[in-house]
C-alpha cells in the first residue's frame, strides 16, 4: 500500500516519540524526511518536547552507577568524528542520532571481530612458521587455517552487512559480558565475550538458543585470549528466543544443566 505524502508528514510526531516500529514504515518516513526540511525541523522541535518530558521524569540514579560509568569511560576508546566527504545542505540532512549510534556501536563490534579474526590468523601463521622449518605439511596446515579464518571472516562480514543488524549486550551473573550482533533477517547472530571468569579444567562455556518449546545447543565458546573469546556464529534463531550461556562439563551437554549465567532476549 502506498502512503500519501501528507500521511507520511503526519508521522513526524510518532517518529519523534520513537513510536514507529523499526521496519518498512520507519524507513519510508526517514527517506521522506531526508528530502523534507520542514519535517526534519518539526521532528527536531518535537524531540525537545521529549527532552522536557525526560527532565520532568528525572530520578536519582542508583549511587553506584556513577563510579561504574566513570570507570567504564576511563577504559573505553572514543570514536573519531565522522568526516563528511560530501557537503550537503544542512537543512536537508536527516537527524537520526540513534541510528548513527547503532552504526557506531556496530562499528566497534566489527573492528573487534575483524581484529580478532586477523590476530588469530596471524598467530596461527606465526606459530606454524616458527615450528615449520620448511615442512610442507605444516605449511599446508597453516594455509588451511588461513582458509578457515577467511571463510569465517566472510560469514561474519555477511552477517554484519545484513539489514537491521542490532548490537545487544548483557553482563553474566558471574561477571564478564557478552556482546551479540544480531541479524534477525538471517536468523543469525555473532557472540563475543570478554571478562568471563576462567573455568577449572573439565568445564566449558556452552551457548544455547532457548525458546518456549525447545533448547538447542549452539556449541562451545572457544578458550579466551586476553580475557576475550573469538566470535561464534549461531544460526537458526526463532522469534522469542533467548541466547543462553551456561557452564557445563567438557565436552558440552545435550541440554543445559544449570540456570544460564546469561539469558539475553534476541
Amino acid at each position: 500500500m502506498r502512503l500519501l505524502r501528507h500521511d507520511l508528514h503526519a508521522l513526524t510526531g510518532a517518529y519523534a516519540l520513537d513510536a514507529i516500529d523499526r521496519g518498512a514504515e520507519r524507513e519510508r518516513f526517514t527517506r521522506h524526511m531526508n528530502g523534507c526540511p520542514s519535517c526534519a525541523s518539526e521532528v527536531r522541535g518535537f524531540r525537545e518536547v521529549g527532552t522536557a518530558m525526560a527532565f520532568a521524569a528525572a530520578l536519582e540514579p542508583p549511587p553506584a552507577m556513577r563510579a561504574e560509568v566513570l570507570a567504564a569511560v576511563a577504559r573505553t576508546r572514543q570514536l573519531p568524528p565522522e568526516i563528511k566527504t560530501h557537503a550537503r545542505p544542512r537543512r536537508t540532512r536527516t537527524w537520526v542520532p540513534w541510528l548513527s549510534g547503532a552504526i557506531a556501536t556496530a562499528g566497534i563490534v566489527v573492528a573487534v571481530l575483524f581484529g580478532f579474526a586477523q590476530a588469530h590468523t596471524q598467530t596461527e601463521l606465526n606459530q606454524a612458521r616458527a615450528q615449520n622449518q620448511g615442512l610442507a605439511a605444516i605449511e599446508a596446515r597453516s594455509l588451511a587455517e588461513l582458509d578457515r579464518a577467511r571463510n569465517q571472516n566472510q560469514l561474519l562480514a555477511a552477517i554484519m552487512a545484513a539489514p537491521h543488524v542490532r548490537v545487544l549486550s548483557q553482563r553474566s551473573t558471574r561477571g564478564g559480558v557478552a556482546v551479540v550482533l544480531l541479524a534477525s533477517v538471517r536468523h543469525q547472530l555473532i557472540v563475543t565475550t570478554s571478562g568471563l571468569p576462567a573455568l577449572p579444567a573439565g568445564k566449558v562455556y556452552q551457548l544455547w538458543l532457548i525458546g518456549k518449546t525447545r533448547i538447542v545447543s549452539k556449541g562451545l565458546l572457544p578458550p579466551a585470549r586476553s580475557g576475550q573469546t573469538a566470535p561464534v556464529v549461531a544460526s537458526g534463531l526463532v522469534a522469542g528466543d533467548k541466547l543462553g550461556l551456561t557452564v557445563e562439563p567438557a565436552p558440552g551437554t545435550k541440554q543445559p544443566t544449570m540456570t544460564p549465567i546469561i539469558a539475553l532476549p534476541v
Binding site: D7, A10, L11, T12, G13, A14, A16, L17, D18, A19, I20, D21, R22, R44, G45, F46, R47, E48, V49, G50, T51, A52, M53, A54, F55, A56, A57, A58, L59, E60, P61, P62, M65, R66, V69, L70, A72, V73, T76, R77, Q78, L79, P80, P81, E82, R93, P97, W98, S100, G101, A104, T105, R166, L168, S169, Q170, R171, G240, K242, P265
Partner: protein, 198 residues
Amino acid sequence: MNPSDSDASRFRSTSTDRRGERDLDDLLVHVARGDQVAFEAIYDRLAGPVYGVIRRVLRDPSQSEEVAQEVLLEVWRNAARFDPAMGGAATWVLTIAHRRAIDRVRASTAAAEREQRNADIHTPRDEVAEAVEASLDRERVRRCLDALTEIQRESITLAYYGGYSYRQVADLLSVTLGAIKTRIRDGLIRMRDCLGVS
C-alpha cells in the same frame, strides 16, 4: 590538591540558557576530545533524566540501570559525532536514552511481562505525578500536558513514557491509526508552543 577539582569547577559555570543547553554543548565538545572531567559534569547534569526516562519506560530498576549505563557510555564514545546544528546536547543524549529504552522493550520478551504489570493503564496525570524529584520542568510539563485534549495527552504519554508504538496506542485508545497520528502531532505542536521550545 587534586588538579581535577579545579578542572571540575571550570565546568560548573552558570547556565547560559534554559537548562544550560549551551553549557552542555560546550561540555560535549570537550568530551569529544577525551576530557573525562567534562564527561563527569555531563553525567551530573543528565544522568537523572536519562535514568528517569528509561525507568519510566522499562519500569524494572536493574534493567533500567543497565540501559542507562549503556547510554552514558555511548555518549562518551560518540561525543565526536554530536552535531549542535541538529539540536542541543541534552536532546541528543535524551533521544539516545529514550530510543535505547524502546529498543529494549521491543526486543525483549520482557515486553509481555511488562504489559502484564501495566495491565491497568494509569492516567497520564498520575504518571507525571510519580516523578520523585520536584522540579520546574515537572511543573511546566504537567501544566502543558493539562492544556491538551484528553486523547492528545494520553497518546503522547503512552507513546513517550509508556513506550508504546502509535499502533499500540491507537489500539489502547480505540482510535483509528490516521486519527492517532494526527492527535500525537497536534498535541506535540501544542506542547512545543506551550513549553516555548523552538
